[in-house]
Amino acid sequence: MTASDTRADRRFLAAAAREARTPAAALTLLTLAAVALTAGFAFCLTRALTGDVSPPVLAGLAASLMGRALTGWASSRLAARHARRTKANLRRAALGVALARRRGDAASLGEITAMLVDEIEAMDGYFSQFLPAQRDARIAPLVIAGAVALASPVAAVVLLLTLVPFVALMAMAGVASGAAARRQFEALARISGLFVDRVRALPVILTFQAEARETARVAAAAEAAGARTMAVLRVAFISTAALEFVSALAIALVAVYAGFSLLGLLPFRPPETLDFPRAFFALTLAPEFYAASRRLAGAYHEKQLGEAAAARLRSLLDRAETPREAPAIAGTAADVRLDAVTLRFGDVVVGPIDAVFASNSVTAIVGPTGSGKTSLLTALLGLTAMDSGAVSMGGLDMAEAGGFAGLAAWAGQSPAFLPGSILDNLMAAAPGVTRESALAMADHVGLTAALERRRQGGDTALDERGSGLSGGERRRLALARALLKPAPLLLLDEPTADLDPLAEAEITALIRQAAAGRTVVVATHSESLAAAADQIVRLA
């Protein structure tokens, strides 16, 4: 991970925060109010100390402290809501990419799920804690210095001068520890990853009696990461110590200046005459000068987490090329021609494939597991990248059309549904599908009995997976949806896997019927389904 990557991660996070409308004005106002209330507290405290312990002064003390607490509470709530908006925006963008993911992409489904759920949640602290703390740390010291200047301009200058060693120390420590801290963070993430992987593989480790070996591996990884981490922390904690040092320095210098000024022992003539109340007011505010920076240091871990998550999310979003929305062309069935098509994912190349999927007929694609049957089907939708070759359908070139999704209907082996009723899902197949035509199609694919068995019939609610339906019913529903779309190209991925012979025969007959007016392509392992096809394309 290089420095420029880190900068890019920060820019990415900053842009995401902006897009979710950072409540900048409100947060800044709250910071200013907090400083004003702190100054009010210092003022009332000075009054109380110089003998005015009247109820208004005590009430002022209490009110300023409570007011400051309320500003902190309000900023937390605002920032939490901003973080929520930011995460939702990021998630929406990433979801679009995830659902347009091409087969064979480097990131696995598991990684993408983790990225979209866990990694984006890991950014919460960055937006809800780190960014507000950073804003505070930029504004608050200057405003505090301004408030101190009301009582003692020289003390304010003294505070501002401590920024010189502060910035210098931070720059030194930052350069030394920035990259190292990142490496350490990654090392920790790795040992955590190894641990969780071995925990998940525990059944296998147990049956192979490899407990001792794998325990030793986990121990060695933890040991090594611990040793490396200490080397990093020695440097990283310098910045913590530096912050502590300048905080102490700010207080001590203000105290020394004010004290010697009150004693009249200053070696120079100050441009102001201090009295005790002014001096005490300045001193009370002195610890606040670096308070925001110290809170920022406390949010350092959130920053690391957020940046690391951003780096991974960025790689997902950058990799994505949103597939063009294919135009829904109402075409008639036409032959699909494949000329020397090769697909590549990772180390594996499928093809070259030369084939014609004839219209008004069923083509079965068969071949051993991993030979690329499903990938070939998804390639027709533009969801698997073609390495070389060309595909056309009735004169329409696929590369130009960006895939035939608009012309195609699909039924797969694990269909997904939208939250809504069975009929809603059927009617979503294409615009213009009515309730009646949906019911008729359900009957056509043999779902009537299944609908009648359910109390709410076609209005039975489904979740994403279609829970509550049997495997066979889900398959029929997916087929009905595919047949409802007036698409000339029907793509079926293992439509009969795991079905009993009777159901398989019924579905096969439906597929044969569907070939009238369509080009049907079926990827299958089933010999009986392949036997029912008009032609077979065999992948090696």
């Binding site: 598991g110 759920v117 004290g259 597991t369």
Partner: protein, 531 residues
């Protein structure tokens, strides 16, 4: 706390071993907190003294000893800086020393715990939860110096307040005590619910996302991708809402703390104001700074309930494992549901889904408890032996074929750690995966991704088979070894398995829906659903 917690005991033992670091970290933490408090207090006292002396004329000024406070400032600033550095570094060093041992101990404990419990914890969400628990214990370990720092900060402040007013010092300490008590009492109650809801919402989002990603092609065909994104965003909204409730609870807790602290400060100011300018200045500023030293302890107290939960979940893993008993001999005779098997026999187990075929294999290798009397080894019922006792007898290729994140070779060597490459290739050839692995860019050393997800389902299955082939055990347990393979590959693989079994003289128990693997077997066990 009725029984001593093994996790706490483990951490305490590690803490004893790292005591020099922990002691030094606590001393540094105390020095920092004390110095922070006294620095501000001393500053106030110095200002007041200087103001009084300045007003008293040149003689009073000459009599005012400013050298001592100036030296004090320097000493306190150095103490505060060095103390903070030492506290952070030594605290972390002690934590790493202790916790490098925690993960392996937990893993070993998990492996030794009863199978049902171990397997429940090794499933997806539970394992992620366990990592969070380990992290929570780490955080608490680093905070071990917090009570000392708090005590030093509070003690120094109370000592600085007392000269002005003893009552004020008491009020100050009572205020801190109340803050701590509130943290302890409320934090868990306020944040546990939203935290649990957050986790559930995240789980639902993941489930829905997996379903839609697997159906990306179909969504695209029907133009439903955007609708799917919207459907997923309703899960996001639920997650966001739960998170907001958690954050709001934290903010409210913070507000409560600040309110208590405000009341304390006002009372201290009111009670000390008449104690003389210098002492009053010392008192109020020390009270102001003394609050800070307690912050670490307050944070720790807020996390206490989460920490206790984490410890409670980790505890069962660190309980002492049962004593080992003598392993079975390799010439053992096996009896399953009354079918007696001699070494070298091949048994087919068939039956409809859900009849318990997979469970039978899992019971043999001790991944689930065996039903009474169903399985005997050398005549002894398996349930009379400790769980996992029979594992040396079996090489298991399970149905879900879980692979380790790592290389092809690492996965294969799980079966035989000392195998050379030639042996590995031989097993791959018998599993009909050698050609595919030769195509991979780095052959045996190719990284197969998280849980082997760079491989297809059929490839993972065959790698899992090859791994089982490599294990030197008298029986192979194969659960659906050819599922998802096409007929040609299946026939080829079954023939290779036949030759391999003849060569090694191993027996086999094969569960399959498909006829080809069954043809290898000389014994059969058709399982019937139990009434």
């Amino acid at each position: 706390m009725n029984a001593p917690s093994p996790t706490r005991a483990f951490l305490a033992a590690r803490a004893r071993r790292g005591w020099p670091d922990l002691l030094a970290a606590a001393a540094c933490g105390a020095a920092t907190a004390g110095a922070t408090t006294l620095l501000l207090g001393l500053s106030g006292w110095f200002l007041a003294g200087a103001a009084l002396a300045g007003a008293g004329g040149p003689l009073a000024v000459q009599a005012f000893n400013y050298l001592l406070p100036s030296a004090g400032f320097r000493a306190l600033a150095i103490l505060r800086t060095g103390g903070r550095y030492g506290e952070r570094l030594l605290g972390h060093r002690a934590a790493f020393g202790a916790l490098a041992a925690l993960r392996p101990a937990l893993f070993a404990g998990l492996a030794a715990s009863p199978p049902e419990q171990a397997l429940r914890l090794s499933s997806g969400e539970a394992s992620a939860r366990m990592v969070q628990d380990v992290n929570a214990t780490e955080t608490m370990f680093v905070r071990r110096s917090a009570p000392w720092a708090a005590a030093a900060g509070a003690g120094a402040a109370a000592a600085a307040i007392a000269p002005a007013s003893g009552w004020a010092a008491l009020v100050f300490l009572a205020g801190l005590g109340l803050q701590l008590a509130v943290s302890e009492a409320l934090a868990g109650r306020m944040t546990d619910g939203p935290a649990r809801q957050t986790q559930q919402a995240a789980g639902r989002l993941k489930g829905a996302l997996n379903t839609y990603m697997a159906a990306a092609a179909e969504l695209r065909c029907f133009g439903l991708t955007d609708a799917a994104v919207e459907a997923l965003m309703t899960h996001d909204a639920a997650l966001g809402g739960a998170m907001i409730r958690a954050r709001d609870a934290e903010a409210l807790l913070g507000l409560t703390q600040s309110a208590i602290s405000a009341v304390t400060l006002v009372l201290v100011a009111a009670l000390t104001a008449h104690g003389g300018l210098a002492l009053a200045a010392l008192a109020v500023l020390a009270a102001l700074a003394g609050q800070e030293g307690v912050l670490g302890l307050l944070r720790a107290a807020e996390q206490n309930s989460a920490y206790a939960e984490a410890v409670r979940r980790l505890d069962p893993l660190l309980e002492a494992p049962p004593a080992a008993s003598a392993p079975p001999t390799s010439g053992s005779r096996l009896e399953i549901d009354g079918v007696a098997l001699e070494p070298g026999d091949r048994l087919s187990v068939t039956g409809v889904s859900g009849v318990g075929k997979t469970r039978t294999l899992e019971a043999l290798v001790g991944l689930c408890p065996p039903a009474a009397g169903r399985i005997r080894i050398d005549g002894t019922p398996l349930e009379d032996r400790p769980p996992g006792w029979a594992r040396p007898l079996f090489a298991f290729a399970p149905q879900d074929c879980r692979l380790l994140t790592g290389t092809v070779a690492e996965n294969l060597r799980l079966g035989r750690p000392d195998a050379n490459d030639e042996t590995l290739w031989e097993a791959l050839a018998d599993a009909r995966l050698d050609t595919r692995v030769r195509q991979l860019s780095q052959g045996l050393a190719t990284w197969i991704g998280d849980g082997g997800d760079q491989l297809s389902g059929g490839e993972r299955r065959r790698l899992s088979l090859a791994r089982a082939y490599l294990r030197d055990a008298p029986w192979l347990l194969l659960d659906e070894p050819t599922e998802g393979l096409d007929r040609a590959v299946e026939a080829d693989l079954v023939a290779a398995l036949d030759r391999r079994l003849a060569r090694t003289g191993q027996g086999a128990v094969i569960v399959s829906h498909r006829p080809a693997p069954i043809t290898l077997c000389n014994r059969s066990l058709p399982m019937e659903p139990r009434a």
